[in-house]
Symmetry: C2
Subunit: 146 residues, 2 copies
């Protein structure tokens, strides 16, 4: 079971790259070479982010993509819903009339509770959180070999 698919993953990386450093406009070509993501796939992803209003784009020479939303307003759960569709961790159990518990299905209740927790956790993660280098835990690693 995967929680995060590859396109969501790539979208996260691309957004981090665009929003980190002082870049304003970043071309897909630059991201391909830096992030090692297949070019046509990345382009497709960037176009989606553009359509969703998270990125703006400029065509032509020197063009590319830039953030149109600050990183503390982009939540992981939103990206997941864009690329992976809405959450519904169960859905399967009541679909079939044969389910012996129907509306009182205790399994559904428990799965629902888990789902709510997962969503709330994912909603607490923003791109801004992923931009912090490793700051929060001071001195966690002595040798910084980056």
């Amino acid at each position: 079971m995967k929680l995060i698919t590859r396109d969501t993953d790539y979208a996260i990386r691309a957004l981090c790259y665009i929003m980190k450093g002082g870049h304003k406009v970043v071309s897909s070509a630059e991201m391909v070479s830096k992030l090692h993501i297949p070019r046509p796939f990345l382009r497709k992803i960037l176009q989606v982010l553009n359509k969703k209003g998270i990125l703006g784009s400029t065509k032509g020479l020197g063009g590319g993509f830039e953030a149109s939303v600050p990183p503390d307003r982009i939540f992981l759960v939103d990206l997941m819903e864009i690329f992976q569709g809405p959450f519904s961790l169960n859905e399967c159990l009541l679909r079939n009339l044969a389910c012996p518990h129907k509306k009182n299905c205790s399994l559904k209740k428990k799965i629902d509770a888990i789902e709510q927790y997962v969503i709330s956790q994912l909603r607490s993660i923003r791109i801004a959180d992923l931009l912090k280098k490793r700051g929060s835990r001071r001195g966690k690693k002595k040798n910084n070999q980056n």
Copy 2:
């Protein structure tokens, strides 16, 4: 995103059916007619449960399947791992060397924490819990229209 796939779902229902009531040996034909699950698919699932030691089987006329493990020893997470493979909600983010955070990826840490929670919750659900009609919460619903 689905947390529980259909084969796991069917397995749960079949196990509940087998373990509820006083049945000892239940044929796949009986379960097909009661649970409305496609016959060949259910048979395949039952064979898996048999191989995994959760069910025992007897061939021939009057044969079928019976529980070989008590319902309070069958955990939801085990069924999910049988039919859906092991959990690894992220895995995607470190696979690629290009990940800008590598070992210190804060996203990975957060996803890991979510994963641990989900697993622990799923590990707390046993088939036995699903057999209780609606007992635990006394008087929760007055009109029992079953």
